[in-house]
Every structure is written in structure tokens, then in C-alpha cells.
Amino acid sequence: MAVEGIGARALRKEDKRFITGKGKYTDDMTMPGMGYAAFVRSPHAHAKVKGIDASAALEMPGVDAVLTGDQLVGNGIGNLICGWMIHSKDGSPMKMGGWRALEPEIVRHVGQAVAVVVADTQAQARDAADAVVVDYEELPAVIDPLAALEAGAPQIHPEAEGNLIYDWEIGDEAATNAAFEKAAHVTRMEIHNNRLVPNAMEPRAALAGYDAAEEHYTLYTTSQNPHVARLVLSAFYNVAPENKLRVIAPDVGGGFGSKIYIYPEEMVCLWASKRVGRPIKWVSDRTEAFLTDAHGRDHRSEAELALDADNKILGLRVKTVANLGAYMSLFSSSVPTYLYATLLSGQYDIPAIHANVKTVYTNTTPVDAYRGAGRPEATYLLERIMETAAREVGLSPAEFRRKNFIRSFPHQTPVIMCYDAGDYDATLDAALKAADYDGFAARKAEAASRGKLRGIGLSCYIEACGIAPSAAVGSLGAGVGLWESAEVRVNPVGSIEVLTGSHSHGQGHETTFAQLISERFGLDTNAVSIVHGDTDKVQFGMGTYGSRSGAVGMSAIVKALDKVEAKAKKIAAHLMEASEGDIQIEGGELKVAGTDKKLTFTEVALAAYTAHNLPEGMEPGLKEGAFYDPTNFTFPAGTYVCEVEVDPDTGKTEVVNFVAADDFGNIINPMIVEGQVHGGITQGIGQALLENASYDENGQLLTASYMDYCMPRADDVPSYNLSTHVTACPGNPLGMKGCGEAGAIGSPPAVINAITDAIGDNNLSMPASPEKVWALYHAGLKQAAE
């Protein structure tokens, strides 16, 4: 290690333990005397629970208890909550059905838990769970979100008539309709965004223990936001008051949003640990993960784009039905509204936008935020229709976009967002150049000589990161504030601990956050430790999702560092009898400018703690905390170019080139940023080509294992061509925008636009399975022949 500051491609400090298998995950934790939980789950998508007979299970070896929903409700454990209130356009609040962690009356999706078994070993618990006899009376189920809204569809929750949760709108409908009336050209498309299963490498897990003497609970769990988990478990689920509950999220193997939420299983373990009187561990198996981790996406939209005679955009009209599954998960309501429709302006100057969003219950796994959360759905819709419109009016898709770019900032869109900075021409130019866009025709001809159909597609995405400010999101219905906290603790020997409310589950905070300190004080990054993920260590924090750890989390650290630096300079000035303004920090030393007087950072830290000679009135110690509440979202943006070759005989698509030109604002560690982009693009290619959560008409998940659910693999993707272009974000001290989700947001439309270009048919839906592509292409050939 060394002094590696902002901009250094520092190797990840955490990788030593991950690569050598020494990471410590929830399943690695133990508590004396712990037992294991196994859940009894519904095999039906919709059924009445008429009775639960646990007598045989209770007789089995090692079994301590079988607990059901009646006992949970009887103990006063609250329903699961949704933390963002959305109002329908008629002003009425969203219609939320009750969700109990163990369901005593009606199950609403396959895999919903009705009981839990606690036993000495995991195998005993699972064997006994199989022996719990549940008497179900099957009810008609509805799986398709459009069918769920039809008259006569099975009613899923009594609270939500016709399965409609809310009917929400944004933008000026009259102005948008007027724009369409004067349009010279209108492009119309039906656009689906396929349902995805998050598939973090580490499945969810919990280990809960209750200390009867202290009346105190400890929960180890796979969480992206342990403090939010503690808050919700305390305030809403009534498990324990916050001061009697410690939540620890140790190493966590990926989340992609799915580990933001507080699920039934973790809460049941906590509750049951007191009731049964022993610590309880539960580790999801992969099938449970497929059936119960919140899914992502699942939108059905109709989109219309109005152009004037000069091909400038006049307006965008969108109608979306979003499937939220059987229950409203923690942030599910915000995803298809404020995280989606507010991004529909993209990089374009669109005078009028109107979007109507209906969310609907179906007998499927709950849907919530998944890498990108709403923004991929917005980008996919807009970038598909942009490309299609360009083709319809006969303009180059690149030139059509350029013609409509926003070029002056700040820019207020018709859908709430006020973009602060960007240079969309710069990323478009860079991407086109890197992709040799102009040379495409020759490559297409060469591919044709090999019998391949070559296509090229663009996507100019924008996204909003670091959701904020707290007061603004509060006014839109959020139940929480979206600031972040930090504490910088300088130890007497000059090493530093940084406590952050962000949580790393793959992002590399231990490295990038340390680089901030290395930069500021000229210290070796090894002298800095990042502490996170434990409610007993970090006072409070909002966790990591929505690409917020840089723009929000690091900004909080910067504020705390400012305070540490100011105090350290005061001490140094006092010790060296200089004026505070003359103290400069360089290479781990505090120097008096223009002299050879200096003190090492360690000497100053020690002086702060010995307190033998501090300035008059100064408190001992060198430790500062800060809370940072952003003033606006940040707006990363960029252009992605995808080039594909389709095999006309089989319909198989090969991604032959993928170029990403991103503007993430300032960058702390380019290597880590590239890793984020690689992962994101790969997930986006996965969505576009391979991944799909597919249900049969009875609500059985057909793709409930990797034999049928296709995750992208290394040989499904090319080597990526990446570059970054900086317009600094004016809204935060580091000028950062965020990079965690961009890849997954920007790539799906680029891939689909490339395939539709190759096969000459714009009506392709995701995932672009070989069969779909083959059928469309050959139908087109047949039509052309007729």
C-alpha cells in the first residue's frame, strides 16, 4: 500500500479476504446454542389457509418449535410496511393490503411462508418443515398484470379493489395532448420491461439471538442498510426498541437492491429467538431466493413520441402498468413513479411529457427496486422509441438524438427533475468515435458475406443518483430522509477509522473511502480503516443503494474531514507558534508555509490526545462527525453503442462490440468504476438477451433455478470499450455523480436497438431470445416476399 489519493487505481483492500475465502458473511457467524429455522411455504399462488397441523413435525428429532402466523400476530408483531406513500391522481392514498411475515389466512404467491420450524440442525428443520401439514383451499390466481386489472379478475387484497394499488400521473396532460395535435410525425410503441430475479451471489441469511438478562437482541443479516432495518424492525414490526436491538450486516455478497428490504424471514428469526429461547439461524437456499427475493422491473407500457416537421421532439406520452406482485415491498411504490417517470425526459429537451402509471397486485413474488430501479425502465422506453422514431423519419439515430439534446444547465424538465450539469455531445461524440460508427456499413457488408446479420444500436441514458434532498423526497411521500452520516476518528498514533452509514456489499468502500483520507492528509491507505454495517458502531446511516455512497456517503466524510483538518491545523499552529492560516498539510505532515517547521500528522494526533498543550479552551481528542443532506439528485449520463451479429438460421445474437462513454463526474478510483460499469453492462446484456422470470398461468415460477433462469456468463459478453468524460457535479463537494447503476440502465436499449437494426424489425421485446429473433426475422422475410 501507499499514499493513494483521488484518481489512483488503488487495488481493493478488501479483495485479500474475499479472494482467499476469508470474508465473514452472516452464515459464517455463530452464537452458542443456536438452532436453525426452516420455513413452510405455500405451493399455491393463491389459497386459503384452513389449518396447519404441526403435530407430526413436533415429534421429529431435534425439533424445538413450529410457529405460525397466529402466534406472530398474537405477539403483536406488525405487518410489513411500504415506506413511500403514493397518492393516485384523484388524491386518494395508495391501497395497500396487509402483509404478515407468517400468513395465517390467505397466501398470495408461491413460496409465501405460513410457518417456521426451529430445530437443532438445518437438515432436521427442513425435514420437519416437510412434515408440517397445511390444509389449503385453492383460490383462482391472476399472474398477468393486465389481466389483473380486468373486470372479474380474482381479487387479491380486499383493500385494493380490482387489484389497482394506485393510478398516478405526472406532467401536464393538456399541454402534452396539444403537442400531439400539432405533431408532424408520431411514433408509437408497446414496450415491455421483463421481470428479473436479482440473484446476488450470497443468498439472504439471518442469525438472531436474544439475551434475556439484558432484554437485548442481536441480528446478523444480509442487509444493504442495517440502520434502516433496525428502525423498521423497531418502529413498525414491534420486535424490540432500537436501543435493545443491534443489527450487524457483515460482509455481504451482493445486493442489487434486493437486500434493502426487511423481509419476513429475518424478522421471524428475531421474534422466534426470544419466543423459542435460543439463537436462530436461517440461510436461504437458491430456490427460496428465486421465490422470495424481491424481483425487479415488470412494466407494460405504451409510449408515443410527437415530432415537429424539423424532427424536434414536441411531446412524450406514456401509459405504464407496473406489476408489484402479491405485496407492496418496502420501496416498491416509489420505483414506477418517482424513480421512473421523473427520468422520462432523458437527455432531451422535451417541452411536454405526461405519464400515467397504474400499479397492480398479482399472485407473484413482490417486485421492488433492482439495480437502477425505475431508471432502467425509463431509459429503455425512451431510448427504444428514440431509435425507432429516428428510423421512421429517416434520420441517423445519432443525429436525431443530437438534434434534441439539452445543452444549457440547469435544465428544468417537465417531470420534476432539474439537471445540474452535463455535456451530452461529449459522451455521444466519444462513443461514436470509439465504436467507429461511420465505418459500420463496411462491417455490416463483411458480416453479410459470412451469412451474419450485423446491427448497431445506441442508447443515450441519464439517471438520477443520490436520491435527495430529504425535505424534497419527504414531500413526495418518502418515509425516510436520504442523507448520510460519517464520523472520522483519528487515533492517538495518527491512524484513522472512518465510520460510515453507507454499506459495502461489493462496491469497494474500504478502498475508495480510504483514498479520500489518503488524499487529504497524505497518509498511507493502510493507516485508514473503514467501519460500517453495525448499528452499535455507527450511530446512524441510510445504507447503500441508488449509487448514493459516493455522492452522499463520501460527501458526509468530506464534511467530517473538514472539521478534523481545521482542528488539526489549530493544534499544529499552536504547537509551532504559527498562524493557523499558514499551516499546510502535505505528505502526512503539517507544515508552516515558507519555513522548515513541521509536525507529522501522528505528532499532532498525539498532542490532541495527551492534551498537555492545546490552544486555550480546546477540547481534547481528534474525532468529528457530520451529516450530509444533498441539495439535489446527481445526474450521471452517457452514450452506449452496441454492435451485434445475429445468426439468421438460429436467431442467436452475439454481442460483438460494446462501447460505453460515461460522465460520472469526478472519479475516486477508475479501476473500481470500471468494475462497476462492467458488472452493470453485463447485467443489462443479461436482461436484454437472457434473463426472464417466467410464470405459468397457475403462478408457478418456471424459471426457479439456473437450469432455466439464464444469468449472463463471461462468454455471453465481449470485452468492453470504456471511457469517462467529466462534467463535475456542482451539487457536492467532490463533484461526484455515481456509477453503480449506469451500466444496467444504459445497456438494454442499446442491445435491443442493435438487434432490431440487424433484423429490420422494431417490435422486439426483451429478452431477445434466439427463437423470438428468428421468428421475427423470418416473418419479415416472408412478408417482404409476399
Partner: protein
């Protein structure tokens, strides 16, 4: 996984007697199909009798123009065997395209054919090459061995010991893999006998497992070229249809894979 008892058999006869003494036993090959099924609690054998440590069931040897492959030989060993590459290149390439490296290092030819998954690769090779399955009780022609989807002529206590492949003038396999599992959605094995006769066997697509394409065989006997099979497809009514591909799509894949196999042969 439910509780089970593991036994390691040292010989074919020991394996048979261990099985006879088991309540509800199963032979264990590389475990690549059986263990995942047990982990999902879809199978619960009382006993597992591991046959992969039986010396007589391992290894590859020359057998006239052809080769004999012990049932406990892994896909990796078949795919990298010089003998197989030289005599039956189509078989070596087929074995090298099964699943992924982890599967190929564990899975065995005996386990694969005993399981007779309709999307497994080996059945196409055995049928097209006219192989003989040697069991602990008898010898069976491949076409008599595979009796339907996940079904074979094996008795409960019968062990696959080896597979005898005759030689071929040319052999090739073309597979369109399921993108998720990498099993065959359509796999076509084309074999040209030393007498000029041609056999074409298809896996992955049929409702009853592996089947032969006699129209293609006739066409290729006259003209061994991709064009000869370009217009021949199986009846889609007899094919599998699932979320990964309709019967009509699989019918097309059979034609395309047949062309590619002939091209390679």
C-alpha cells in the same frame, strides 16, 4: 437433502450386492444429476452406491476400429482422449461440449446414459454410431437401451459397465445449447459407417428422447453434403415445446444442426 448412506463399491459384483441390501438405493456416478435432485429434495435414496471407484469401469481402450469406454469415465477424459479424438472425433467433441468444466470433470458416460435426459448429448452419439451398452447383466444395442424420456431398459439393480463404440468413417456432432443449462435444445449426431451408410440421431428435441432421422439418412447416403439435409425437418408435432423453444423452433434447429454436423464431418 434428506439423510442417506454412502457406500463405495470396489467391484461390479460388490456394487450389485450393496444395492441388493439397500432399502431404496441408487447408484452414484459423477453425481451431476443425482445430487442436485437430492439437494432439491426431489429424490431421497436410502443408500448411494458409488460406482466410480470400480477399476473395471474406468478408462478407454481400442476395440478394433472402435473404442470401449468404461461407464465411470468422465466427460473430460472422453473429450481429451487421443484415441477417441483419432477414431471418433465427433464423440470427443460432443463430450467436450457437455455442461461446463466442473460438470465434465465429474459427470460420467454411464451416469449420463442411465439417466437418459431427453436433452443429454451422449444418447445421440450412441444411437448414430450404433454403440452397444454393456451392463452387469447383458449387452444391449443403443436403440434398445433408450426407451423413452428419462427411461432405459435397465433394471433397478443393473449397472452400466461400459459402452462399446464401433468405428466410423466420419462422425460429427452439432449442438444448439439451452442458454441457461447448456444441455441440448437440439443436438444432431451424424455418423458415416465404413460401408458408406449414414445414421443421423437427434437429441434435445424429441418428446421421447433420442430419435433417428431416416429421411436425412437416406438423403445423405446419396449425397453427403449439408445441402442434402437443408430441406428436411422433423414433424414438429413430435417435438418438445417449453419456455426455451417451441416445437417449430426446435424443428428448425434440427435442420440447422444437421447441416452443421455434416459440414464438420
Amino acid at each position: 437433502m434428506y439423510e442417506t448412506t454412502y457406500h463405495k463399491a470396489g467391484s461390479v459384483s460388490e456394487a450389485a450386492s450393496l444395492m441388493a441390501n439397500a432399502d431404496d438405493g441408487k447408484f452414484l456416478g459423477g453425481g451431476q444429476t443425482l445430487l442436485p435432485t437430492m439437494k432439491q429434495r426431489l429424490a431421497a435414496p436410502s443408500d448411494l452406491v458409488d460406482v466410480t471407484k470400480i477399476a473395471d469401469m474406468k478408462g478407454i481402450s481400442a476395440n478394433g476400429d472402435g473404442v470401449t469406454i468404461g461407464a465411470a469415465t468422465t466427460h473430460f477424459e472422453v473429450s481429451t482422449s487421443d484415441l477417441v479424438k483419432q477414431k471418433l472425433p465427433g464423440l470427443a467433441s460432443l463430450a467436450g461440449g457437455i455442461g461446463d468444466p466442473a460438470v465434465r470433470h465429474m459427470g460420467t458416460i454411464g451416469g449420463s446414459i442411465a439417466n437418459n435426459d431427453p436433452a443429454a448429448d451422449y444418447p445421440a452419439a450412441l444411437v448414430a454410431l450404433g454403440a452397444t451398452v454393456v451392463t452387469s447383466k447383458r449387452e444391449l444395442a443403443a436403440e434398445d437401451f433408450f426407451t423413452g424420456m428419462f427411461e432405459t431398459a435397465l433394471d433397478e439393480d443393473e449397472i452400466v459397465v461400459a459402452v462399446k463404440f464401433p468405428g466410423a468413417a466420419a462422425s460429427a456432432y452439432a449442438k444448439y445449447p439451452n442458454p441457461a443449462s447448456r444441455y441440448a435444445m437440439a443436438g444432431v449426431f451424424v455418423a458415416k459407417g465404413s460401408d458408406g451408410s449414414v445414421k443421423v440421431a437427434v437429441t434435445g428435441a424429441g418428446q421421447n428422447g433420442v430419435f433417428r432421422m431416416s429421411d436425412m439418412e437416406t438423403a445423405l447416403a446419396g449425397n453427403f453434403s449439408p445441402d442434402a439435409v437443408a430441406g428436411i425437418a422433423p414433424d414438429a408435432n413430435d417435438l418438445l415445446s417449453d419456455i426455451h423453444g417451441s416445437a417449430a423452433y426446435r424443428a428448425n434447429l434440427v435442420t440447422v444442426m444437421a447441416k452443421r454436423a455434416v459440414q464438420k464431418a
